[in-house]
Structure formats: structure tokens, C-alpha cells
Symmetry: C2
Subunit: 313 residues, 2 copies
Amino acid sequence: MTRHLVALAGGVGGAKLAEGLAAHCGDGLEVIVNTGDDCVRHGLLVMPDHDTVLYNLAGLEQAVFGWGIEGDTFATMDQLAAYGEETWFRLGDRDLALHIARTARVRAGGRLTEVCLGLQAALGVASRILPMSDDPVATEVRTADGWLEFQEYFVHRRQEPDVLELRFAGMTAAAPSPEVVAALDRADAIVVCPSNPLVSVGPILAVPGMRDGVDRARARGVPVAAVSPIVGGRALKGPADRMLVGLGHEASAAGVARLYAGMVDVFVIDAVDEGEAAAVEALGMRAVVTDTIMGDDASRARLAGEIVAEVLA
Amino acid sequence: MTRHLVALAGGVGGAKLAEGLAAHCGDGLEVIVNTGDDCVRHGLLVMPDHDTVLYNLAGLEQAVFGWGIEGDTFATMDQLAAYGEETWFRLGDRDLALHIARTARVRAGGRLTEVCLGLQAALGVASRILPMSDDPVATEVRTADGWLEFQEYFVHRRQEPDVLELRFAGMTAAAPSPEVVAALDRADAIVVCPSNPLVSVGPILAVPGMRDGVDRARARGVPVAAVSPIVGGRALKGPADRMLVGLGHEASAAGVARLYAGMVDVFVIDAVDEGEAAAVEALGMRAVVTDTIMGDDASRARLAGEIVAEVLA
């Protein structure tokens, strides 16, 4: 019988673990992805977290940067520049096909999740990648220059401004999709990927009803594991460390664990953070200490295997 | 003082003469283009006639096929195929930038003509290319298989089915744009390019109010010239010859002249059709016999120069 594992994921780090989990769970894996980073570029709906997970699961991902398609070209983007379009958000030619097809299908009346599932199937992905909601939610960050759209902060300003406050526009009117609710209700285990707890996992858990779904699963005895995105006090990728400190948290594995306290049973930290295991366990979680750096396919599969052994044993 | 020349044009043949006319008239040239061929592909607004004229005036045109951009690549299209999108209408990567930017600007509330003018200016085109209308008009052809969207007939079925009837959906509700009305009102001469008289020039003249604009200009003494798209009984490109016969007309220079009788003062025919000059003149037009084949830039400029000398003398 297929065991159902639900992962919560943001972009690059989440996608790497999702790829490892897919190697173990295949069509038993459902990845709920953050959509707060989604944006409209040149009139096209771009879903950075969904797409990064998709390309990783399809084996198309760009190895160095972690987003986009390996070997992609930029002919369309260069020509868009000729028309005076802003091009700091670089979209490759093959990548654009995803945004074009998705936008056309949603504009034609398709429901976001159904459209995404169709695109995933077309690339032969056996696992399912579920937008956290069919309703639009937009993560915005307040900086010294005022409120910024997330990609303006993340890509255009290279995460340089200090983040003073976060908000998720549209969140109060959003709901988990039917597919997300069903995934949580049939889950045998839940894994929170090593993604930014504030702007990747945070929006997912903030969708009204999402946390209830996780709690319902836990009440059934479903274990929840989380992997620290902070290793040795630093984010492996992205601004999570500075953002945690700037918003009054601690940039450490234990600091992340504190954010998940009451929801997570197993917290996975890197060997370099072994000294924080006691602090994690004091929060009521079991600490698992291992190598969490996912430099290649083998290390992704190994870490995922350890997690699967913990939660689907 | 700038002399104002208005050209009416469809696709490839019209674009070639427009390019020649631009070499003589520069920013005094305004090209009114057929929009009946426009279509939505992958959710993007594609305007084949506008775009062919644009690429010709910008010096970007694909030399062999006459549409699209020289040296363009097809990475996006190949990836769209992976998502199950229909790809018989091949759009190159650089070409797609035009459709993406235009669609985004129109969806954001831009008026079609203003959006097109902005895109033309971005490519450094001094002449102005005016959609015949800001209102949507769709040319449809009836074949033995029933009514077909124009590009389904023209591209997908390679113009193979016999055309039994034409209609222009949306035409009764369409009006010339303010820019088209202004262009006709300040015209010093009007030139009908060697485009298909039924599905390229036909829709332009069928826009309610367009023919009135031409007639107002003629009442002011503005000469109207037309160039035959039929040479030696054959269309140089496209299905005009078969379509003329199928719809009860004559596939000859004189047959085309007959369609323009009462609106045109000077009718330009190829030297091989010299024998039809008398029939043309019997329709009340002056026949000009010359070499109308536009194989290269020099021949486009020469033919355009002869026409300009006739109508802007």
C-alpha cells in the first residue's frame, strides 16, 4: 500500500529535499508549495517555488543557481528588453513556456491547482506539487524604503535591504485547495523542508485552515518532521539568517525549532549544530543529528531516506 | 513639408512594398494593416500582418519565409510542445517577446493602437503602423469542413481547402481607430499594397467608416494607387489566385482592378500583364506597367519610388 508523505516546501532548499523524498516515495509524495512569492512578469504568472520544485522533480533544474532550466537560453528576454520591459527577473526561453502555458490555461478558466497538476504530469513527474492555495497571496516585506513586493526585494534588490516586517496580502481571504486538504487528511507523515521558516514555510502555515489540517493529522498520530534550514548559524541559501535576527528570532537551528514548537515531533539538525540538540529537545521535539547538506543527488536521497525512516517507520 | 502617404497592407507582399515606401517617405508613411488575421496563441495576442510589416520596417524580417525574425530560435515553442500545447503556429523566441509585451500592455488597459505604436517606436521604426481598428475582427473562411478560423486555414491547413465563403466576425461593431481616421484625413496620397484583395485589403476596407475615409480623401483630390498582387495570373505568395476564382472573381491583374473600381485612380501591373492595361483603363483607372517583383531591397525601393512619383508628384 502506498504510504502518503506530505512535504511543505519553498524554493531551492525545499526542492532539493523534495527531490530526495520523491526518490523514496514516488507517487506517494505530495509537496505543498508556497505561493506567496508568485508574481506576474510581462503579464505571465510566474510561481518561483512551484516551478523550482517542478524542475527538480523533472530533472531539469539549473544546477548552479537552483532555479530555471539547465542550459536555458534568453533570446525572448533580450528582445523584451528591446521593448523597454524590465528584465531584472530573468526568465529563460524554455522556462517561459511554463509561464505562458499556465497563464493561458488559468485565463481560460482553469483552476490553478488543476492547471499545475496538468503541467507536472506533462513533464512526467509522478509526485504531486500542490500550490498552498488557489487564492492569490502576495508576500510583501517592509524595508527602510517602505513595503516591497517580494521579488522586488528578493531578486531586484538581491535581499540586501533589512526586512523590518512581513505581511501576506490576500491571506485572510485564502483557503487551502481541496487537493491540499485531501493530502493532509490522507498523510501518513508530514515533512517541513529546510526552507525559510518566515517567508517560505510561514505563508503556507498562515493559510487559514492549513494549520488545522496539520493538527488534525497529528491528532491521528501522524508524525511531523522538520529540517533546519540554518546550519552553523547561517542560511545555506537566501536571507533566512539575517531575516530571522531582524525580526526578533535567533539565527540558529534551535531558533527555527522554536518557531515550529507545538507542531513538529522530529527536528533534524546538521552535525555542526549537535550542540543545539538539547535546546531542541527542551521544546518537546526529538532531535535528529545528521549531515543535512544536499550537494548532490546522492546526498539528497540519503537525507530523505533518513527522514523517511524516522517518520514512515 | 512632410508629405503624408497612407498605405493599406496585409502580410508579406504588403510589408515589402511598405518597406520600399518607408525608404522614400520615412515618418510621412502610415501603414494601415489588416487585423482580421490576428489570433490568440497560448493566450498571447499575435498580429501576423502588423508584425510582418513591423519586422520589415525594422529590418528584422526573416528573408526566406517573410514572417518572423531572421535567425530566430524555437526553444520556447519546443518546450510548449512538452506541455501539450498545439505548436503548428510556430513562434520564435525573439518573436514571442513582441506577443508577450503586447498582450501584457493591452491586458493592463492599453489601447491596441497605442500599444502597437509604442512597440514600433522601441524598434526605431520612423513610419507608423496602424491596426485598421482597435476593435477585434476575425476573418473566417468556409470550406467543405465548415467555418475555419483564418490561421487554421492559412497555416495549419496550408491554404489547401477551397474557400467557399468569407466572413469577418465582429466587423459590424468595429470602427477605424482615431489614428486611422486622422491618417486618412491628412493623407496626400493613398497606396493599396499588393496584398490579397479579399482577405488582406478586403477586411481593411470593410471596417465601417474606412471606405468613407478613403472617399473623403479622394473628394479632396488625393490620388489612390493600387498594386496588383496577381502577376501572370498567379499570386506571388499565398492563395489569392485560387481564392479569387473560388469566390467568383478572375485571377488576373484586371480581375483585381475590378474589385477596386471606383476607389482607385492608378493601378500598377507587372510588365508580363501589359496586355491587361486596356482592360484596367476601361475601369476608369490609369494603368502603370512596370516590374512589380520585389526580390530585394533595391527592387522594393525602385517600385516604391515609381509609385511615389505617380501619386506625390
